[in-house]
Amino acid sequence: MSSLTTGAAASAATVPTVAPRLSTVRSLRRLVPYARPAAPAMAASMLAAGVATGCGLAFPLVIGAIIDGPITHRDTSHLIWWGALLLALGIGEAGLFFVRRIIIARPAMLVEARMRQDLYEKLQRLPVAFHDRWPAGQLLSRAISDLGTIRRFVSFAFIFLIVNIMTFAIGATLLIVLSWQLGLVVAALAIPLVLLAVIFEFKYRSLSRRAQDQVGDLATMVEESVLGIRILKAFGQSGHFSRQFLRQAGALRDTELTKARVLSWLWSAMVALPEIALGIALLMGVKQVANGDMSAGMLVAFFGVAMTLRWPVDSIGWLLAISNETAAASERFFEVMDSTEAISSPADSAVSQSASLMQAGSEQGPSGRGPASNGKAGHLAFRDVYFAFDDDPDSPVLRGLSLTLEPGETVALVGRVGSGKTTFTSLVNRLHDVTGGSIELGGVDIRNLGLAELRRRVAVAFEEPILFSASVRENVAIGLGSDPTATARYDVSRRNGTPGLDAPSDDAVTVVADGAISADDAVDAAVARAIRVAQAEFVYDLPHGLATRIGEQGLSLSGGQRQRLALARAIVSRPEVLVLDDPLSALDIHTEAAVEQALASVLADTTALVVAHRASTVLLADRVALLEDGRITTIGTHSMLMATVPAYRDLLSSSEYTGTSSTRSGGNPTGPRLEG
């Protein structure tokens, strides 16, 4: 079997690289806006490091002076002052080390934190299609380990790269001053060093990138192995999965070893070259001392300074390595940040929002039906909608779908598995955007509505309910939204008599200023009502009632229980439009009947689109639409369709298997094609 890991790797590979590969310097330069707040601290830190290095360089000079002065002249009377000078330099050096570190500690953290925060917020704005395509571990590794690399660069590597190069320049100058012949030998080192750095950058950079991508793939596998633990256990395939994991981990190890090999060459050159230069300098120095052209103290001082330069030169190797890794990390970070927010609020959403509100408000109350109701709140129209997935643009899932829902109307959507029902429902609150045609809510193209407004007006219950690690109350109240302005708008629209929102006064929802849903009784009342409708009263029997934590970090609930909570969440805000994707599939027959009965009251005055697989669910609807071949081929009442449309009967009838159902229903619409 070709492994699942190759799948993960392949999907990582298909992740589009947005930016063309930039040079290390250009990739690093992109970090400037983020690093800017830390720039003063970095500059100060650099200065401190530079001065400290200066102190370090002065050390051998003072020692040389002591040897040539008090020792040579056998005069210890001023020795104490020399000692004091040495001590002052020592305290200065240590003190500046402290300053260098302490000054950058917090600002570097803030750079990292801000980048992570921006990444998180960006990810929340990117469309579902992006998230489907990008493996979770790739996102996580960007948010954690890549940003950690960048933090190390900002707080340390960048500073020392600059300071060490300057130290080398200053040190070399100093050496030239001490002895120009010897000094030049050491200064000439710079040429091969720069050459080496360039070659290294070329080789190391792509290795860094590969290693980081592999780290992301590993994180993806870890995440999938844990989230899919039940499946792996049920099939006893943990061992199989584990072997794939080890193979992938082995690939990462190989990359890391290659990196080490490249680094080792650079490093050995960085160590050997200065030693050779110093050997030559020593040869010349000893000769000069012997000739009397140079004093012994001077030679000691020269070597003292030269040896202080060793670390700056040695370290350039791994500082370059970190810089390359940071460049790759930056590239990976900006790949996400540069992704287009394909689905976002229109630029003038504020205007269109108020416009649509005015429209909604100016019309009279709820449930006005009829052909002239286009502009009314709750009026939902699909006009010649096309939809194709990014990776398969040639075979659209939806092909010219048209459907109109009158305010307050409930339409059931029926179609074979894979006919595009779920895709269709995900278009209404713009989890995906249509690739052709348009969807209008209250007469306004939904792409002209603010996203927050749209998603406030349209509530969705997914077939696979997603609960958050939070209290039951929070999980349901999430449906009320957490955005204070949205809630304010909600209040406005409610006052304007939006259908479905004619709530009693105790349902007024308030949101406290910091955005947390308040402990207000009104919220409790709304939550309680939603729980009642969704027949989710079991929550009161949980260990802490509504305050019990559920979701991944809390109590696990059964599929049916989760589904009812998701339903409660969708209806809690009394939205204008409800989209329910097979909302009762996991319920037993009694519970299903009870929910349907309670739901009927909500659906009476809410526009609703309900995906249904069963006749029992279909009966909730005023009309049924049959989705075939990417279009609505038939629309009418359940009994009418049962009587006249074989394809429909085939889908919903409980009668014995007829033999035609296993073939895909043909493309010939069998019923009258109606539009609302």
Binding site: M1, S3, L4, F59, P70, T76, W82, L86, R101, I102, A105, E112, A113, R116, Y120, E121, D132, R133, A136, S141, I144, S145, A219, T220, V222, F235, G236, Q237, L246, A249, G250, L257, A260, S268, G279, I280, G285, V286, G304, M307, W311, F389, V417, L431, A459, I466, I478, S482, D483, G515, H544, R549, G554, S558, G559, S585, A586, I589, T591, S661
Partner: protein
């Protein structure tokens, strides 16, 4: 959840409020200044709700226990690579030796080569230069080899520990994962391991070269001149005190860092996994605030680590510089007194200077070590978890599996106070198809999970062909019993691979045949790359119904003796369900099956119906007989019939 790990949380955060969200009157973290201690990561926020976890029973010896546990883990990781460790030590010796002769050669050059050259003898100079350059090259070679050896060691250890955590987390029971959360496992395997990599890659270098230089230079110093050597070594005493202080401070900080990063990863992964719900319900703003709180917390914890190091490392430097000054002054006096030569003093000073650089490296090692041991505490805590549903050490062999399942006196509850099943006895003969019906919460899924051994009964046994399933090897158990649930989890990657998970050795033909059997083959072939189409994260390329069909194909491919279907057709339309049932009827021939379905169409293919109510089996018999008897099942069946109208 590991109580020791939680205890560790308490050790490091004595100020952490132990609140239950419900009665908490503590202010929201968003109202406090971001630089106040935020209780987010340890305390429960009101919005998070109350979970049954206790974090406050700490005993005094917990810290010692944690340290021992992480040390043992580290040792066990290094032990198989003793050869590499030895090579590493040898290389550091060569590297340090070749590095340390440098000053001696310079001293020799000044003290001997200069006079010799003046006297017309060039040999000492040649010797000096040759040995200087030679030692430099040797040093470079040793360093280069060292980089490779350390990488080999680090990577081998990481591979080992990655595999161990991965396998261990796979072995741990479902009940463990329900509590521990995926985010924390991910955090153990990603960011915690990063610190281990830092330790091995950078820290070990510092440790070995630090120790060797300090010891080596100390010996050289004492040999060169005893009084000066003693002065230089006296510095070790204050350094020891500083290190002790740093150890105490940094341990607390790094534990917090590990815990907070785990909280951050949990929030991150949860947002991304529930992304559709997040944006549909406009939770972005609230998420942003929650994330900000924990992200700021992490920045603060990390910053605290930097600050502590900023105090520790320069202090070491200060002590070193102070010592150097004393050595210089005393040394100068001794040279003037004629006790030592100038060249010797020069060498001495170069050595002292060199001694404190490695000391700082030691400080850096200590820093990585503290960070890594905090991570090791967490990792070893995970590794210490015992799977509550463990594979037996001496499994009972079972040959050809017929598929006879029996419960005898089984009692089970997810927690000890609320029992779901009590003294359940049930015998399912091999080859029988049993439909399990009953209201939500009657214990149907629990019964199914016990057969699949996701849990072990509190008392009583579940047997397969008369053998307690707890005594079976995992491979035998999974060969015998496969469960398909409503949650059709797909892994990212090709459809074919997802089906092949049922039997990795299956050929492509067999995979396609399995897909055709459940009627999803035609659809899969219509995808852009057919069976090789990537289904994307969690199978999002497919609809819920298609995912269920794929997981059916997976189960059929696995070809077990006992097949358990828990609401496995809930998302299918009626024709697909019928197709699956047709397939089932063929496939189930000669196989045992336990089918849970709210939709009673399944019952039509069942030989026997069990009606469960409140953990007991209240009706048991062939469907027709039960319908005729007019009991609970007859009522449900009638209602279902009606619902189809």
């Amino acid at each position: 959840m590991s109580d020791t790990e939680e205890a560790a949380n308490v050790v490091i955060r004595p100020d952490a409020p132990v609140v239950s969200g419900r009665n908490s009157s503590s202010p929201s973290p968003y109202e406090t200044s971001p630089y106040e201690t935020s209780p987010y990561a340890s305390g429960n926020e009101e919005w998070q709700g109350v979970a049954a976890e206790d974090t406050d029973d700490v005993s005094a010896h917990v810290g010692a226990h944690l340290a021992k546990r992480s040390r043992q883990l580290l040792m066990s990781l290094m032990r198989p690579h003793r050869g590499l460790v030895t090579a590493m030590v040898a290389l550091v010796l060569v590297e340090q030796a070749s590095f340390m002769v440098g000053p001696l050669i310079v001293a020799y050059g000044i003290d001997s080569a200069v006079p010799a050259l003046a006297a017309g003898n060039g040999f000492p100079l040649t010797l000096t230069i040759a040995s200087y350059i030679g030692s430099g090259i040797l040093n470079a070679a040793a360093k280069a080899t060292f980089v490779r050896v350390i990488a080999a060691l680090t990577q081998a250890m990481l591979l080992d520990v990655r595999g161990r955590i991965f396998d261990h987390s796979q072995e741990l029971s479902v009940s463990f994962h329900e509590k521990y959360t995926s985010g924390r496992v991910i955090s153990r395997m990603t960011s915690d391991l990063d610190t281990l990599q830092d330790l091995a890659a950078e820290g070990l270098d510092g440790l070995i070269s630090g120790i060797l230089s300090v010891v080596g230079i100390s010996v050289v110093l004492l040999v060169l001149d005893v009084p000066l050597g003693l002065i230089a070594l006296a510095a070790v005493i204050p350094i020891a005190f500083c290190t002790r202080w740093y150890q105490r401070v940094s341990r607390v900080i790094y534990r917090r860092t590990r815990r907070v990063i785990a909280a951050l990863i949990v929030q991150f992964t949860e947002t991304m996994n529930g992304f559709k719900a997040v944006i549909s319900f406009r939770r972005e703003a609230r998420n942003t605030r929650i994330f900000r709180a924990v992200n700021d917390d992490y920045a603060r914890a990390n910053g605290d680590g930097y600050v502590a190091l900023a105090q520790y490392s320069p202090t070491i430097r200060l002590i070193g510089n102070f010592t150097l000054t004393v050595v210089m002054v005393v040394g100068a006096l001794r040279v003037v007194d004629g006790a030592i030569e100038v060249g010797l003093l020069a060498a001495f000073l170069l050595y002292v200077r060199r001694m404190y650089d490695p000391l700082e490296e030691l400080a850096m090692f200590y820093n990585s070590f503290q960070s890594a041991s905090a991570a090791l505490e967490k990792i070893s805590g995970l590794l210490e978890e015992q799977p509550t549903v463990a594979e037996p050490t001496a499994p009972q062999p079972i040959g050809e599996i017929a598929g006879r399942v029996a419960f005898s006196g089984v009692t089970f509850g997810y927690n000890p106070v609320a029992l779901v099943l009590q003294h359940l006895d049930l015998e399912i003969p091999a080859g029988q198809t049993v439909a399990l019906v009953g209201a939500t919460g009657a214990g149907k899924s629990t019964l199914a999970k016990l057969i699949a051994r996701f849990y072990d009964p509190a008392s009583g046994t579940v047997t397969l062909d008369g053998v307690d399933i707890a005594q079976l090897a995992n491979s035998d158990l999974r060969r015998g019993i496969v469960m398909v649930t409503q949650e059709a989890f797909l892994f990212s990657g090709p459809v074919a691979d997802n089906i092949a998970l049922g039997r990795p050795s299956a050929t492509r033909t067999e995979i396609e045949a399995a897909a055709d059997t459940v009627g999803v083959g035609a659809f899969i072939r219509s995808l852009p790359d057919g069976f090789d189409t990537d289904v994307h994260k969690r199978g999002s390329r497919l609809s819920a119904g298609q995912r269920q069909l794929v997981s059916f194909a997976r189960a059929f491919l696995a070809d077990p003796a006992v097949l358990i279907l828990d609401e496995a057709t809930a998302s299918l339309d009626i024709p697909s369900e019928r197709a699956v049932q047709d397939a089932l009827q063929r496939v189930l021939h000669g196989r045992t099956a336990v089918i849970i379905a709210h939709r009673l169409s399944t019952v039509e293919i069942a030989d026997r119906v069990l009606v469960m109510d409140d953990g007991r089996i209240v009706e048991d018999g062939p469907p027709k007989q039960l319908i005729a008897a007019g009991g609970q099942f007859a009522g449900v069946h009638a209602a279902w019939r009606e619902s189809l109208a």
